[in-house]
C-alpha cells in the first residue's frame, strides 16, 4: 500500500469523524476555531451579525448558574470584586418604590439566602447584569489607545496586549461592568463569549440558565425571535438616559432598577 493511500484513508476517516461529530456549520469553521481565529471562518461573517442579549427579569430565579458558568468559562478571578456577569436582588417596599434595597452577595455566585424580614408586602426580583455591548460605548470612546473596541458584529472587546491599565474605561462605564484583572493588570469584561458565538454556540450564561431568562440575540438576523419578542413585550435598557445604545434588553424592568 502506498504512503499516499494511507494518508488519504487517514484524512477520509478524520473528515468523516468531523462530519459525524460536528454539525455542518461547525465543521466548516473547525480548522479556524482550532487556530484560535473563529471569526475568520468562511461561514462566519462578522458583518452579518449584530449581537445583543435579552434578559427576562420575570424568569430569573437568582440561582447564580450564569455567574458560575461565566467565571468557569472565561477564567474570571474568583474574588468578590471581579465579575463579567452578576445577579442583583431588588427588594422594593410598596411605600418606597424609589428606594430599593439591593444586594448581590459575591455577585450572586452562591445564589441568594431567602429573605424573611421584609414580609409579604415587598416586591422581590432578580436582575442579572452584564456588559450592555453598547453601540455608542463610553468605554470605547475614552480608551486612549483603542485597546477597547467594538467588533463589526456589535461586541465590545478588549485587546489585552494593548491595554495600558489606565482604568479610564472603568470610570466611563455607567453600569459597572469592568474590572481590572490583577493577573494581567489590564481591564477585563464580558466578551459575550465571543469565542463561542462565532462558532454558532450561545454564551455560557445563556447555556446554563435553567429558565431561559437570558437569551443571546442576533439583531441582524430577520428570523431571530427577538423581533417578535420586542414587538410584544415592554422592553427597556438600563439607564436609558445615558444614551449609550445598549444592546442588553430587559423585559419587565422595574423603574427601581439602577
Amino acid at each position: 500500500m502506498s504512503a499516499s493511500a494511507t494518508s488519504n484513508r487517514r484524512d477520509f476517516l478524520k473528515d468523516s469523524g468531523k462530519w459525524i461529530l460536528l454539525t455542518g456549520a461547525a465543521m466548516l469553521a473547525w480548522d479556524f476555531v482550532a487556530e484560535g481565529a473563529p471569526e475568520q471562518a468562511p461561514n462566519y461573517n462578522a458583518t452579518d451579525h449584530w449581537w445583543g442579549m435579552i434578559i427576562d427579569i420575570e424568569k430569573c430565579i437568582g440561582c447564580g448558574n450564569c455567574v458560575r458558568a461565566c467565571k468557569a468559562e472565561n477564567g474570571v478571578p474568583m474574588t468578590d470584586d471581579a465579575f463579567r456577569t452578576w445577579v442583583e436582588r431588588y427588594v422594593v417596599m410598596p411605600d418606597e418604590p424609589d428606594k430599593p434595597i439591593v444586594d448581590s452577595p459575591n455577585g450572586g455566585y452562591d445564589g441568594f439566602v431567602n429573605l424573611k424580614q421584609y414580609g409579604d408586602g415587598a416586591k422581590v426580583f432578580f436582575v442579572p447584569k452584564m456588559c450592555n455591548h453598547c453601540a455608542h460605548s463610553p468605554c470605547v470612546q475614552v480608551c486612549p489607545v483603542g485597546a477597547t473596541f467594538e467588533s463589526p458584529d456589535g461586541v465590545v472587546l478588549v485587546d489585552k496586549t494593548r491595554c495600558l491599565g489606565c482604568r479610564y474605561c472603568v470610570q466611563a462605564c455607567p453600569y459597572g461592568c469592568r474590572y481590572i484583572d490583577p493577573r494581567t493588570e489590564t481591564v477585563d469584561k464580558c466578551t459575550l463569549c465571543y469565542h463561542r458565538i462565532t462558532k454558532g454556540l450561545t454564551t455560557a450564561c445563556c447555556e446554563t440558565c435553567p429558565t431561559g431568562a437570558r437569551v443571546l440575540v442576533d439583531l441582524k438576523n430577520p428570523k431571530d425571535p427577538i423581533h417578535e419578542f420586542m414587538r410584544t413585550h415592554k422592553v427597556n435598557v438600563l439607564k436609558p438616559q445615558m444614551a449609550t445604545g445598549s444592546k442588553t434588553y430587559y423585559n419587565g424592568l422595574d423603574g427601581a432598577v439602577r
Partner: protein, 398 residues
C-alpha cells in the same frame, strides 16, 4: 471588608484611581498657574512681578516634568504608554491630553525658557571650562550668536511664545478638567463647569506656589522680599480666588437647587465621607480663611511684616485647600456607587505602589528639580553691571 454601606455594583468595590491620580491635576494645575503668573509680567507688562518671572517659569517646568510620573506609576502597563503618542485613539480625551502636554512642555515652556536664558547660557559657556563648558554647550545648542540682532529675535520669539503660552496654559489645565468633566457616567464629575473650575483653581494654586517659593528663596538667599512684588501677586491671587470660589459655589448651588437623582448620594457623601476633606479642609480652611486674609490686605493697612505673614499663611492654606479640592474630585467621585444606592471607602496605604509614600516623593521631587534648575539657570536678578548690560541688550534690540 471593603467598607461598603448600602449597595455597590460588585466591580465597584475597589477604587480605581488612587492618590496618585489626585496628584496629577494638582501638579498640572501648579504648572498652569505658575505660567500664567509669569505671563502677567511679559504680556500684560505688570512690572511689579518681575522678580518672579523666571522663577515662575522654572517652577512650571519643574512641576511639569513630575506631573506625568504619578500617572505612569499608576498604569498597569507603563511600558505601553508611548502607544498613546504613536497610535492615539482620537476620541479619547486622555490620548489627546498627551499631545497638549507635549505641546506645552516642548513648544511653550522649554522654548520660552531657552530664549529667555540664551544670552546667559552663551556667556556661561564662553566663561567656563571642562565639563561645565560641555554641559552649557549642549544647553546653547552650540549657537553662540548673541549679537543685538540675535537677542532682539530671541526677545520677540519669547514674547510670541508667551502669547501662545497663555491659551496653551488654559488648554493644559482646562483639558485636565475635561478629562473628568466629560465622564457622563459620573454625576460628581460630569459638568461643563469642571474645566473652568479646574482652570481657576490651577491659577490660584500656581500663583500661591510661586509667591511662597519666592518668599522662601528670598529668605534663604538673605535678600529683601520685594513688597511691591508680593503685594501685586497677592492682589491677583485674591481676584483669581474670588472667581474660583464663585464658580465652585455656583456648581454646588446648582446641584442643590436642581436636586436630581444623584443629589441624595452626593449630599450624603458631603455630609459624611467628605465632610472633613470638603467642608472643613477645602472650603473653610482652604478657601474662606485665606480669602478673608487676602481681603483684609485690600482693606486694612497692615505693616510689611504683617503682610508677609498673612501672605505666607494664606499661601500655605491655599496649597492645602486646592489639594483637598483635587482629592474631593478624584477620590470623592469614586466613593459612591453609580447605582446611587451605596458608598465605599478609600483606604490609603503607605509604602505601596499607590500609597502615601510615593505620593509624598512625587510632591517633593518638583522642589528638587527646581533646586537643580535654579543652579543651572539662576533666575535671580543678575548683579548690577550684568543686569544693566542685559537690559540694554534686550531693550535696544526690542
Amino acid at each position: 471588608m471593603h467598607g461598603v454601606q448600602g449597595f455597590m455594583y460588585p466591580n465597584e468595590l475597589e477604587l480605581q484611581w488612587s492618590i496618585l491620580i489626585v496628584l496629577y491635576p494638582y501638579l498640572t494645575g501648579l504648572v498652569a498657574g505658575a505660567f500664567i503668573l509669569a505671563s502677567l509680567e511679559r504680556v500684560f507688562n505688570v512690572a511689579a512681578v518681575k522678580p518672579t518671572y523666571r522663577l515662575a517659569l522654572l517652577t512650571a517646568l519643574a512641576f511639569l516634568i513630575v506631573a506625568p510620573l504619578p500617572l505612569q506609576m499608576h498604569l498597569g502597563h507603563p511600558e505601553r504608554s508611548w502607544e498613546m503618542y504613536v497610535t492615539p485613539h482620537t476620541t479619547s480625551a486622555m490620548a489627546m491630553f498627551g499631545f497638549v502636554y507635549l505641546w506645552y512642555l516642548m513648544v511653550v515652556l522649554v522654548l520660552e525658557i531657552w530664549f529667555d536664558y540664551r544670552r546667559e547660557l552663551v556667556l556661561t559657556w564662553r566663561g567656563s571650562t571642562g565639563l561645565k563648558r560641555q554641559f552649557y554647550g549642549v544647553l546653547t545648542l552650540w549657537s553662540d550668536n548673541i549679537s543685538p540682532e540675535a537677542l532682539a529675535i530671541d526677545h520677540k520669539l519669547g514674547g510670541i511664545l508667551t502669547v501662545v503660552g497663555i491659551p496653551s496654559a488654559f488648554l493644559l489645565h482646562g483639558y485636565v478638567g475635561f478629562i473628568f468633566g466629560s465622564i457622563k457616567a459620573n454625576p460628581w464629575w460630569s459638568t461643563p463647569l469642571m474645566p473652568v473650575v479646574f482652570l481657576f483653581s490651577a491659577i490660584v494654586s500656581g500663583i500661591a506656589a510661586v509667591m511662597l517659593i519666592y518668599m522662601v528663596t528670598s529668605t534663604l538667599r538673605k535678600t529683601e522680599i520685594s513688597m511691591v512684588c508680593v503685594d501685586t501677586i497677592a492682589k491677583y491671587l485674591y481676584y483669581a480666588f474670588i472667581v474660583d470660589f464663585t464658580l465652585e459655589m455656583l456648581d454646588l448651588i446648582h446641584r442643590l437647587y436642581v436636586a436630581d437623582e444623584s443629589l441624595l448620594a452626593l449630599d450624603f457623601m458631603v455630609k459624611t465621607k467628605l465632610f472633613y476633606s470638603q467642608i472643613v479642609v477645602q472650603i473653610i480652611i482652604g478657601t474662606v480663611v485665606p480669602l478673608a486674609l487676602l481681603a483684609s490686605v485690600q482693606f486694612v493697612r497692615w505693616s510689611a511684616g504683617a503682610r508677609k505673614a498673612i501672605y505666607a499663611i494664606a499661601g500655605v492654606l491655599i496649597m492645602i485647600g486646592i489639594f483637598a479640592m483635587r482629592w474631593n474630585v478624584v477620590i470623592g467621585g469614586q466613593l459612591f456607587s453609580k447605582s446611587f444606592l451605596g458608598y465605599t471607602t478609600y483606604k490609603l496605604d503607605f509604602a505601596t505602589k499607590e500609597g502615601l509614600l510615593p505620593a509624598l516623593i512625587f510632591l517633593v521631587m518638583p522642589f528638587l528639580i527646581l533646586w537643580a534648575l535654579v543652579k543651572i539657570l539662576p533666575p535671580w536678578e543678575p548683579d548690577a553691571t550684568v543686569a544693566g548690560e542685559l537690559r540694554h541688550g534686550t531693550s535696544t534690540g526690542a
